[in-house]
Symmetry: C2
Subunit: 160 residues, 2 copies
DNA sequence: CACTAGTATGTTATATTATAACAATTATGT
DNA sequence: ACATAATTGTTATAATATAACATACTAGTG
């Protein structure tokens, strides 16, 4: 019953994914009146290199290898914190890793489908999921500030 | 619209929470033909000391202080892994911590409401949430193996 | 009972992820 | 150019987790 074919799961020109993400980031940062510095832009680009979540220390390694920038962890974590605050990336708690936000221009919760074979991770925006969570929280008189939904399984490409 | 009053959020005889959890654990382990050793039982008891998720190193500290057992991390992590496998506890990914499973006698996914003020964490079993997640996964032809739903917010007790 | 195979725990070392604290540098508005 | 704030650099360390191998315990078998 596959009714959706997200870009991440089909062959595509990924360069344009990256370009579009960096473009949107510029827009968002201008709107928010914050500075998308060279470092932050570079970290965002690295996060967007694939549709798989990327760890902070992986980013550090690329910065060292490709940019000759022997940065220490705080440098990367600060850039990641900035990108998180601006809604340009999400953190995947179950993987201690980060992934580009598919729609940074509007604030939202991200729900994720994570393939445990290939690592590709889809970001969903499901009203049904959102509503069911808010409803059950409401039943418990619980005031939601943040939702984390990470669904691990096997993507269609990796199913035998 | 508070329609539910979970034990964790109201004053209660917590000793009986613990006793009941340890009791159920015995049952589960007998059924699964696995050994609930002294250490594993003790770790489970510590996890059940409160309705707040407990870190592995907190457990280590209690073992050292109260039991004079100067265990190293692997000792605790192995006990935790065992308890996870038997479905006696859940791991809260966003907190790197562990909480007792409220209904270990049947296998299930746990959805959690986590209070960011007092730390108390409720485990939910919501068909609505479950169905919405499975439905959206199905739309993407995604085969679920594990769901993580951790909702952070403020519990009724902590609301101003 | 002694032996053995399997399970559980102990121990040492180290990997991985993340943050605190302070110094140096760079950008921005006046 | 100057003062201020924001950003990045740097050093050290905290917090979480696992690998690898040694020892001890348990349960079943002859």
């Amino acid at each position: 019953m596959n009714t959706k074919n997200p870009t991440a799961l089909i062959p595509h020109n990924h360069a344009s994914c990256i370009a579009s993400a960096l473009d949107k980031a510029q827009t968002v940062c201008q709107r928010n009146k914050v500075r998308l510095t060279e470092l932050r832009l570079r970290v965002l680009e690295l996060v967007w290199r694939s549709h798989k979540p990327l760890g902070a220390y992986d980013i550090l390694a690329v910065l060292a290898k490709e940019d000759g920038r022997n940065a220490a962890p705080p440098t990367v974590y600060r850039a990641l914190d900035f990108l998180l605050e601006q809604g340009l990336i999400h953190r995947i708690a179950s993987l201690n890793a980060f992934i580009g936000c598919s729609d940074p221009e509007c604030l939202h919760q991200g729900y994720f489908l994570i393939c445990n074979q290939c690592g590709i991770t889809l970001e969903l925006h499901s009203d049904k999921v959102s509503k069911s969570i808010h409803q059950v929280a409401c039943e418990y008189d619980f005031e939601i500030s943040h939702e984390m939904v990470e669904v691990v399984g096997v993507c269609p490409n990796c199913q035998v």
